[in-house]
Amino acid sequence: MNSPTATVSRLLPFSCVDGPGNRLVLFLQGCNFACVTCHNPHTRGHCNGCGDCIPACTTGALTLEDGAIVFDAARCTGCDDCLAACPISANPMVREMTVGDVLYILRDRRAFLDGITLSGGEATVQAKFVAALFRAIKEDPSLSGLSCMIDSNGYLAGTGWARLLPWTDGVMLDIKAMDPDTHRRLTGKDNARVLESARLLYRAGRLAELRFLVVPGITDAEREVAALAEFVRALDTRLRLRLNAFRTHGVTGPAASWPTSDRATIERVADRLSQAGLCNIATAVVF
């Protein structure tokens, strides 16, 4: 049987913002949303070998061989000019990793880790790999105790979650907006599947955290916040709800000039949610 591989945009060996404790984070390439507020737009597309990024690379780290980009990490200075040059929001610096590759890194760094988080892009687009990796972690005695978590936009259907959940300890799920039209405007997709994923994951005891992006003038409106409060109350008022502040860092397109969330905006939304009875609201440490 062929072991599935993943297209990985980036690997972070230390993260304290992607789940409990210190986590190794894999950002998988490719996303089924097209969020206007995305701060990592280069993780959306898949390279088609057009070669437009090659002239942007001043150190010669990128070449085209047999119609595919070849990336030489040793020559890369990390300037990210190639990402800006890509016409399809892809990343020429991606690498293919096998389950074995990831296990090797995890074993090497086991002493420093509480777990692994798969993020993206949208990790669940590569659900087959995620399930294979998490299963391998759970079945490896040297990796026992590592928690396996997913950052997700929630677009995965129930059949997809059914394949992942036996090996997944928790999911941190983004709700981009409660109003379906607003959600479509922000992400290009309807939110019915997102909300259904939240309910499904909650019932399965795997909803580690809901995340809500506060975009001033859009998702901080009373109607949005009230709908969010109602949705969470219907699940569990003790559910952890993280309010993320919209920032323009990395954002391309019109949203790059939208106003950002400041502390006052976030605190106003948090207060409104608290008044509605939600009792586990997390806000950013840094503004």
Binding site: F14, C16, P20, N22, R109, A111, F112, V285
Partner: protein, 511 residues
């Protein structure tokens, strides 16, 4: 007026110095009017060229650089010289220690070690409630910071989990003072993870304590034990360090034609010069200074035979990168496997030679290798074996790159990991990082969490608000703020992601 008198005059009239700070700088100048201990021309030349550095210990060492008293002797016996009976209550014990500290010298003129405070006070705490204990510690901490305002002054707690250690962590996080500096001696067997978690939570609050790898340190010393003092220095308890001389590996590497020349000729040559400098300085202290007739020796707080010589090195990163350049290799120290292996090879060569070289007067008859944490005037030489500021990889890769060095530096080695402020929302991440670092062989785990006022500058703390005030007004109550200001400007301290630096002592007035 001759230049020396001019300098004395400018010290006396400097409106930015307190009378006590003036007295200290005057004493340094006076000592340095005496001739240097007898050294040969080659040693003098290496000093003059900055390959060797005596860290401005002065021309006539009349006290050991670091004095590490066993205060338990005082608490058990009292002191005939100080006319103190053995204490019977917690108040008496604390007062006894406060008196004792006043009489303990070091290179900074203030004590660098004031005790394993929990071990010392615990026997007197029976019948004292937790709130009462914290109130007494609060007063003691205030006394230390106001009367002995030097961030090199160090308290140790642990390895056993106990109520005094916990109260110390509570009070220290609450007050967020520069002094005392604080180290938890951590032993997974006896401390328990709960105490480590308490310590890493305290780090998030105020970048203190350091966490020392107790099993590793214990193995390097004897039954009488050790203490962590000043700037990550692990030294024999009831002794200390007579001197600390350091070798600038970058400067040494510049004098080599290639890696082989460095390993075969240059490094051994400068190490030999460094041993000769150490022996000259030790000779003055042990044979001429009269220090060992002092009551702290005769009453057994310290033992003449328990003073080591610290064989310091720094600038490993630049040395390795220079040698890589000579070999035409692009890989940089801290980031490249080949460069890291070269660095580790240098560390092993240093350790082997230090172990094989006898040093007169030193504890166990030899020096102890030390990765020196830098001083405020260092340029183009990163502290010890650290990765240069601004080019550090993520904290885990950082620890894994440096852990193999730690085995070889028994008298101290340190990295400062700068952690993003977001860790405040996820303190377990820091706990896991600390546990991983210690399990990987780190001798000491030290972290700065961004966003706080209290910031670690190499081994000691400064307050950013003091630094700003110092820049505006030119004066500070604490001795180390000036060092922080100097370091910030010269060594890109605040550039570290988000900030940190390296250096150690006030070399003297106006330097």
């Amino acid at each position: 007026m001759p230049e020396t008198l001019e300098k004395l005059r400018s010290i006396v009239t400097d409106p930015g110095l307190s009378p006590a700070q003036k007295a200290r700088f005057l004493s340094l100048e006076a000592e340095n009017m005496l001739p240097y201990p007898k050294i040969d021309d080659a040693v003098a030349e290496a000093l003059a060229e900055g390959v060797l550095c005596d860290l401005a210990e002065g021309h006539a060492p009349y006290k050991p650089r670091y004095v590490v008293p066993d205060y338990a002797v005082l608490l058990k016996n009292g002191s005939a010289y100080l006319e103190l009976d053995p204490p019977e209550t917690l108040d008496e014990a604390i007062t006894c220690l406060m008196i004792a500290w006043h009489h303990v010298p070091s290179v900074t003129a203030m004590p660098v070690f004031i005790g394993h405070i929990d071990r010392l006070l615990l026997p007197f705490c029976e019948g004292v409630g937790d709130e009462d204990l914290r109130a007494k510690l609060r007063l003691l901490w205030r006394y230390i910071d106001r009367v002995l305002p030097d961030a090199f002054l160090h308290v140790n707690i642990g390895p056993e989990d106990n109520r005094v250690a916990r109260a110390v962590l509570d009070v220290d996080s609450e007050l967020k003072q520069i002094a005392p500096n604080l180290t938890l001696l951590y032993d997974p067997e006896t401390s328990g993870e709960a105490l480590l978690r308490r310590a890493t939570d305290a780090i998030i609050t105020c970048s203190k304590p350091h966490v020392a790898n107790h099993p590793l340190h214990t193995a390097a010393f004897d039954a009488r034990g050790y203490a962590i003092v000043s700037c990550y220095n692990a030294l024999p308890l009831a002794g200390g360090a007579a001197t600390l001389v350091r070798l600038n590996l970058h400067e040494a590497a510049k004098r080599a034609t290639d890696t082989a020349d460095f390993a075969d000729n240059v490094l051994p040559r400068y190490m030999d010069l460094q041993f000769r400098l150490i022996e000259a300085r030790m000779g003055h202290l042990f044979e001429h200074s009269g220090f060992f007739e002092n009551f702290i020796v005769t009453e057994g707080w310290v033992d003449r035979d328990r003073f080591t010589a610290m064989f310091g090195i720094y600038g490993m990163a630049e040395a390795v990168n220079h040698l890589q350049d000579l070999e035409g290799r692009a890989g940089r120290y801290g980031l490249d496997a080949e460069a890291n292996a070269l660095g580790l090879g240098i560390t092993r060569a240093l350790a082997d030679r230090v172990e094989a070289t006898p040093v007169e007067h030193a504890w166990r008859g030899q020096a102890m290798l030390h990765a020196q944490a830098g001083i405020s005037t260092d340029i183009d030489a990163t502290p010890g074996v650290r990765i240069p500021y601004g080019s550090e990889p993520d904290p885990v890769t950082h620890v894994m790159a440096l852990a193999p060095h730690h085995l070889h530096y028994p008298s101290g080695v340190s990295e400062i990991l700068t952690i993003d402020e977001t860790v405040k929302a996820n303190p377990r991440a820091l706990f896991t990082l600390a546990k991983g670092a210690l399990a990987s062989g780190f001798r000491d785990f030290t972290a700065n969490v961004a966003g706080g006022d209290l910031v670690r500058v190499t081994g000691y703390m400064i307050r950013l608000s003091d630094l700003e005030k110092f820049r505006q007004d030119g004066g500070s109550r604490t001795n180390t703020t000036a060092l922080g200001a100097e370091a910030a400007e010269l060594t890109r301290i605040l550039e570290r992601k988000p900030r940190v630096i390296g250096h150690e002592f006030a070399h003297g007035y106006g330097q």
